[in-house]
Amino acid sequence: MLKIQGLTKSFGDNHVLRGIDLEIERGDSLVILGGSGSGKSVTLKCIMGFIHPDAGTITLDGDNLVGLEGRARSAMNQRVGMLFQHAALLDSLPVWENVMFAPLRFGRVSRREARKAAVGWLERVGLDEAIAGILPGELATGAQKRIGLARAIAAEPELLLFDEPTTGLDALVGRQIDALIRSTITDMGATAITITHDIDSARRVGDHVAMLYQGQIAWSGPAANLMQSGDPVVDQFVHGRLTGPIPVPALPEARA
């Protein structure tokens, strides 16, 4: 179980997280919704240890995740896999080495085996083996995201973090990625947190949904209840209304 309590983080005067509380059961899929700049990526980066929170605790099955350094951090990162918002593939390595980075790094496979195994993972995310030898910089965003996904799951972690897996992709590819995430969670029995702006995607991927607003969890509940949450913030967000508790900056040509 992943447990987050009182997670707080400010950048100067920008109080991004003001006490986040979340609990995710093992094998559960949680979607975090929230507007742009609401601190969704910062939350994931606190879990990964890229950002040190000002206050709060994060534990995975009782093991602390905050403030780890060196070997402890490296060991913990083996238990957590992440798909980055912009894929963040290593552009000096060909696709197959990106996908198999973790297994190669820990000597679990030889380079020859890794190359073969990479093809399997690529197929699994709907990519052709022909791209295995290409450098990732030459590929379209959709393909890069899928490779990032393959890289995260090839490490076979207990906890998977997906930062906007479908943003910037067309609806068809987006649906495929959602299905992939869903099947990965089921097949691997992993716990997952997915960040998204996309309401349909949230309902497809999540068992539970949490809405991040003004640095706190404004609402959380089963994904099935998302459309009838009764919470004014969630209501406005999921229906995309311009009026409600979330202030929408008025543009000269905006029409309600």
Partner: protein
């Protein structure tokens, strides 16, 4: 109103803070070079990048410097009939000063800039975070191989530069100025002492460290997209060049003051 004392204080504090953070960075990089894991493929890549792919630039600059030195010293020394000193001037200037400094500056432009740009891009596109997410320490993976390649490959480059520079002097001396070939080589051989060559190679290792350290440091700390990476690249080259010229004085003093 700017308080001049506060201003000076700020500048001095910033200066020491920078020195401190560069020192910590260098320590982290070097300490990961002596403890596992070792990413041998990355070491190989940078050995080739610095030691092999920089050969043409270094060869060209030292060749022409040797040639120019021969011409200049000949026209100077002929004023008091000391033409015989040409071989000596070429050999000593090349091995002690010109080969290491020129190679250092060329490698700063070629390698230091590329390292800052590559690592800077990796920083702003979150590839460095991705490395950590894959349980890989960026100091082991990115910094250590570059520092070690700089320290070990620069002396090799300079050794080659020494030979080519002396050859440049020889070509001009023998084919243009009419020196006797055997006598020129004999003079070169007689005048050179181990210390001359060794001091040049030590300088090379120091410059290799400076260039790769500045490239990694500025790249690693870059922020703010393409503009930040551009700034990091410029800073890497400028700071390498300045530090090389400063270090040049101190290493020379170390070897040649008795």
């Amino acid at each position: 109103m700017i308080n001049p004392f506060a201003f000076v204080g700020r500048v001095v504090l910033d200066f020491f803070q920078t020195i401190g953070s560069v020192a910590v960075f260098a320590f982290m990089g070097l300490s990961h070079a002596v403890r596992p894991p070792f990413f041998w493929r990355n070491y190989m890549r940078h050995f080739i990048e610095i030691g092999y792919l920089s050969l043409p630039v270094v060869a060209l600059t030292t060749l022409f410097s040797g040639m120019v030195l021969a011409l200049q010293s000949y026209s100077g020394f002929s004023r008091f009939s000391a033409e015989g000193a040409v071989a000596m001037v070429v050999a000593l200037s090349i091995t002690r000063e010109l080969a290491p400094v020129l190679a250092g500056l060329m490698v700063a432009g070629r390698i230091g800039a590329a390292m800052a740009a590559e690592i800077g891009t990796m920083r702003v596109t979150e590839q460095i975070d991705a490395l950590e997410a894959l349980s890989t320490n960026p100091y082991s993976y990115l910094v250590a191989p570059r520092l070690i390649a700089g320290i070990l490959m620069m002396p090799f480059l300079v050794a080659v530069g020494d030979i080519i520079g002396v050859m440049g002097g020889y070509i001009v001396g023998v084919y243009k100025l009419g020196f006797n070939s055997a006598a020129y080589l004999q003079q070169t051989w007689d005048v050179l002492e181990t210390e001359d060559v060794v001091s040049g190679l030590v300088k090379a290792a120091v410059y290799g460290f400076i260039v790769t350290l500045m490239g990694c440091y500025h790249g690693y700390r870059s922020t703010g997209g393409a503009q930040g990476v551009g700034r990091a690249t410029t800073q890497a080259v400028v700071s390498s060049a300045i530090l090389i010229l400063i270090a040049n004085y101190f290493v020379t003093e170390l070897f040649f003051t008795k």
